[in-house]
């Protein structure tokens, strides 16, 4: 049963990565405005050059 030590370690590591991602998301302002990003989804790629031109749209693409 000693494998549990390792498994728990891994599971905690994965959970910590997600917590880190959550921290990054909050710090980069993704929770500040929860409405406008839902509208950006509608901007389709008819004009693909516009995508890269904009900082916040880049986030959306990632």
């Amino acid at each position: 049963m000693e494998v549990i030590y390792m498994l728990i370690g891994f599971s905690l590591l994965v959970a910590l990565i997600f917590l880190g991602l959550f921290f990054w998301a909050v710090r980069s302002g993704q929770f500040d405005d929860q409405h406008t990003p839902s509208m950006r989804v509608l901007f389709d790629s008819k004009d693909s050059s516009s995508k890269k031109s904009n900082h916040n749209q880049k986030h959306r693409d990632e």
Binding site: A15, T36, K46, N54
Partner: protein, 862 residues
């Protein structure tokens, strides 16, 4: 909704309004005016036509823009420095408030601003706040260029005086709450997993003692950040309260937190048990959710506005050579000549240098009719110039003007009504804390005598743990948060959820008249004179439709109804006879230019429109149109007389109380339209319904002309007060409060600002909630005023729901205490009972608020 591929022949491709006067054709598309065409042209050249694909006809109508506002002041280094969020040698970051943002296309266009203006490095829209944040390369372009570019495409930023003094607040305060919640949630989830083996196997034999220790140690490590970071707000608040010798609800919560954590660490370290770490982290997690609900505010609305957000940031001043340049208002000194145009505000007390001007003081004093001022007359700050441009000489600095004096009143000095608010939870928390500590001590003592120190300590801490008023702390934010949401769905936006308590306690309601009970849009139009033929009705309506003057629009609306009714049943057409005309009244000449907000009028079937050949509008005087060979002339007495070649005395003067518009067709005088400000829709029912329960007052800055319209609703004579100055309104509210009344004030203008501030619950009425409203506790959509009675009743029910959920959570606490004092509180019981009580309180408040809202007839879904 129509798809953009089908272009209806006479709808403007840019803004979607009807092309009435002359259709501008360009690029095989129709535009209603040159402004719209050039906006399209600009976007087309920059390859931004995707704007028109996202929504059909998304543009902002540019017809009504008579002249461009001047942005010279944006060249001024000091101004730039004061309005920008951040500035260095090459870059400026600024947040602009753009009221015109209304759809997906707007967001798309504004976020692609760098295609229009290459100097823009980055632009980002916050739709709910209607804000655009731009980062500008100042070597490449200037702030002024960017703002002027925005104006050309119809997105004029609102740059107000207040912007000078305050940097835009970044809403980062919520971020730390999210992070705290994230940490607590993370720890809660993991600790639950690690505690699970122990629950299955309480003897600890199955997995072996090592695992027991391992999981215990992990739990402590995971719980530490929750104690230090996530729960810090509660611990700090409790400490602050105790050091001021007070007790708030955070005190028993903190006692619970500390008891939970130390007891758990003790059990784990001494290998006597598994501890309550899952209950501990779960408790913090739920509490933080409650806090997040509590912090929900309406970002796009600002509730703390004063005159500085009403006045523009700069004004056009004339120098000795008669050249205009713009000066920011805080630098404006007395004895300067300023030029104002239609719809612009007088920034400080001034005298008129031009011969004549019309001033609209409705927002400042509540007077419903524009006032005519003559050369040399004094004009108060805040008045709105109507009609032709005029010259003024400034008399006072902005800060010393009539308008700003109101803000020196003490009601504005010690603000923050909500700081004085104490929740029901805070009120009972001292008793609660004493009771909990008492029970803990007595049961501890009992066990000390019967069983010894160790069980006594364990029972003592168990009581503190289980009595932790988590569900109690949640009941207020969840009930009121839910009530806040429901009220906002129905058009009442309350600033802070605690203020709902003030709404529920109200005993008297004070109404403003102009713009609150009456509504200029809901005008009563009557035609005094010979009946028009249906052909003539169409002519007059078409002529009026072309004018943006509010009176014309009212006539056009009125005629639309008449035409619609007439086509159903010719006999039902109302017939009004020419009343007796009196002489000597100046009312007849009131035909004054005043634009209302450029909301588009939705249109009737096309067959009631006629083609205009010629159309002319003289601001402030009247309109003249040639339709299908007929000459239609509408306006003031002198205008109609002049245009139709009549003598002035051929047109009778009237004694009609309200605005009058005279009409002649083909040079023959046909009578006049009398227009009175009507009551808002549903107001008489509202007043009828609530006059039994509350004492109602009418407090108006206007004259007594409409007194008789209201005596029916307001009972005694003392409750109808006219000609009240802003300070008198404030004093009236104070008097009511001294008599022990809880006062709701409903108003809309700056003249109500003092009264709104002083009252226990100030409601600012706004037809467009993002437009300017004075400082208040809640903003109410004009159409929802009729529901005021329901709102008050609902707020009462919400307060009862809070009490009911208190009882519910106390019930859980009692059950838990039963386990605790008998020494049976196992970690498993705590882990089930504590989240269960929190969740059931959440569900209970969610369901009951919706039930009562529905019962009261409020919408509970979007």
């Amino acid at each position: 909704m129509k798809t953009n591929t089908v272009i209806s022949p006479d709808i403007c491709f840019h803004c979607g309004e009807d092309c009435v006067i002359d259709t501008v054709r360009f690029d095989e598309k129709n535009f209603c005016c040159q402004g719209c065409k050039s906006a399209y042209q600009i976007l087309d050249e920059s390859d931004l036509c995707g704007y028109y694909d996202l929504e059909s006809n998304p543009g902002i109508n540019l017809k009504n823009v008579k002249h461009r506002a001047r942005f010279d002041y944006l060249e001024d280094e000091e101004v730039i420095n004061r309005i920008s969020d951040y500035q260095d040698d090459s870059r400026i970051s600024v947040t602009l408030n753009i009221p015109n943002i209304h759809c997906t296309s707007c967001v798309w266009l504004l976020e692609n601003l760098q295609k229009l203006e290459p100097g823009v490095l980055q632009s980002e829209v916050n739709f709910l706040k209607k804000e655009l944040s731009v980062l500008i390369d100042s070597n490449n372009t200037s702030l002024r260029n960017v703002v002027e570019q925005l104006v050309t495409i119809g997105y004029e930023p609102e740059i107000r005086l207040e912007k000078l003094d305050s940097k835009t607040e970044k809403s980062h305060q919520n971020r730390s709450l999210w992070l705290k919640m994230g940490v607590a949630g993370f720890a809660f989830g993991n600790i639950m997993l690690f505690s699970f083996p122990d629950y299955l196997d309480t003897t600890g034999s199955g997995l072996g003692g090592d695992f027991h220790l391992f999981f215990g140690a992990l739990n402590i490590i995971l719980a530490l950040p929750v104690l230090i970071y996530s729960s810090s707000d509660y611990l700090k608040s409790a400490f602050a309260a105790l050091s001021q010798r007070g007790v708030n609800l955070d005190v028993p919560i903190s006692i619970g937190i500390v008891a939970l954590f130390t007891r758990s660490v003790y059990e784990i370290v001494t290998l006597t048990g598994t501890g309550y770490m899952d209950s501990f982290t779960g408790l913090i997690f739920f509490l933080l959710i409650g806090k997040l609900v509590q912090q929900k505010t309406f970002h796009r609305l600002s509730f703390n506005r004063d005159y500085r957000s009403y006045l523009p940031i700069a004004v056009n001043v004339l120098n000795e050579h008669g050249e205009e340049y713009s000066v920011s208002l805080d630098k404006l000194t007395p004895d300067k000549q300023i030029r104002l145009r239609n719809q612009e505000l007088v920034p400080c007390d001034s005298t008129l240098l031009s011969d004549e001007a019309f001033m609209d003081y409705s927002f400042i004093t509540g007077e419903s009719e524009p006032v005519r001022v003559k050369k040399g007359d004094q004009i108060f700050a805040g008045g709105r110039l109507i009609g032709n441009a005029a010259l003024f000489k400034t008399e006072e600095k902005v800060t010393n003007s009539y308008l700003t004096k109101l803000w020196n009143h003490e009601a504005f000095q010690n603000n923050d009504k909500e700081l004085k608010l104490t929740t029901f939870a805070d009120k009972i928390s001292p008793y609660f804390t004493v009771a909990v500590l008492g029970i803990a001590f007595f049961s501890g003592l009992y066990w000390l005598q019967t069983a010894g120190v160790e069980p006594a300590l364990s029972v003592f801490t168990a009581v503190l743990i289980i009595a932790c008023p988590c569900a109690l702390a949640l009941s207020t934010p969840f009930t009121l948060g839910s009530a806040l949401n429901l009220l906002s769905l129905n058009g009442l936006f309350v600033k802070n959820h605690l203020l709902i308590e003030n709404l529920s306690k109200a005993t008297s309601i004070v109404f403003d008249k102009t713009g609150t009970l009456t509504e200029s849009e809901a005008a009563e139009v009557t035609l005094f004179g010979d009946e028009l033929s249906s052909q003539e009705e169409i002519w007059v309506k078409s002529a009026c439709k072309n004018s943006i003057h509010p009176l014309s629009r009212k006539i056009s609306f009125y005629l639309k109804d008449v035409i619609a009714r007439g086509s159903v049943n010719e006999v039902n057409k109302p017939r009004v006879n020419l009343p007796s005309m009196a002489t000597g009244s100046i009312q007849g000449d009131r035909f004054v230019e005043q634009f209302s907000s450029s909301t588009s009028t939705i249109d009737a079937p096309r067959d009631d429109r006629a083609i205009l050949k010629n159309f002319e509008e003289q601001p402030g005087k009247g309109i003249y149109a040639e339709i299908e060979g007929a000459l239609i002339c509408l306006g003031s007495r002198s205008f109609v007389a002049g245009q139709s070649g009549m003598k002035l005395n051929e047109i009778p003067e009237t004694n009609f109380k309200g605005s009058t518009v005279h009409l002649s067709i083909n040079g023959v005088y046909r009578g006049f339209f009398g227009i009175k400000a009507g009551l808002r829709n549903g107001i008489s029912e509202l007043l009828q319904n609530i006059k039994e329960k509350f004492s109602l007052y009418l407090l108006s800055g206007d004259n007594e002309a409409q007194r008789s319209d209201f005596t029916h609703y307001f009972g005694s004579k003392d409750s109808l007060l006219f000609n009240k100055k802003p300070e008198e309104k404030l004093e009236f509210i104070t008097q009511l409060q001294e008599n022990g009344d809880q006062v709701i004030m409903v108003g809309d203008g700056l003249n109500d600002a003092g009264a709104l501030k002083k009252s226990d619950f100030g409601i600012a009425l706004a037809d467009d909630i993002s437009s300017f409203a004075p400082a208040c506790d809640a903003i109410l959509e004009g159409d929802s005023l009729k529901n005021l009675g329901v709102f008050i009743k609902f707020s009462n029910q919400s307060m009862n729901i809070i009490i009911a959920s208190f009882v519910l959570s106390l019930l859980y606490n009692t059950i838990g205490l039963g386990f605790a004092v008998t020494g049976n509180l196992s970690p498993l019981v705590a882990a089930i009972l504590m989240p269960l009580s929190s969740i059931s309180v959440m569900i209970f408040t969610f369901l009951t608020t919706r039930y009562f809202a529905r019962k009261g007839g409020l919408a509970i879904w979007k």
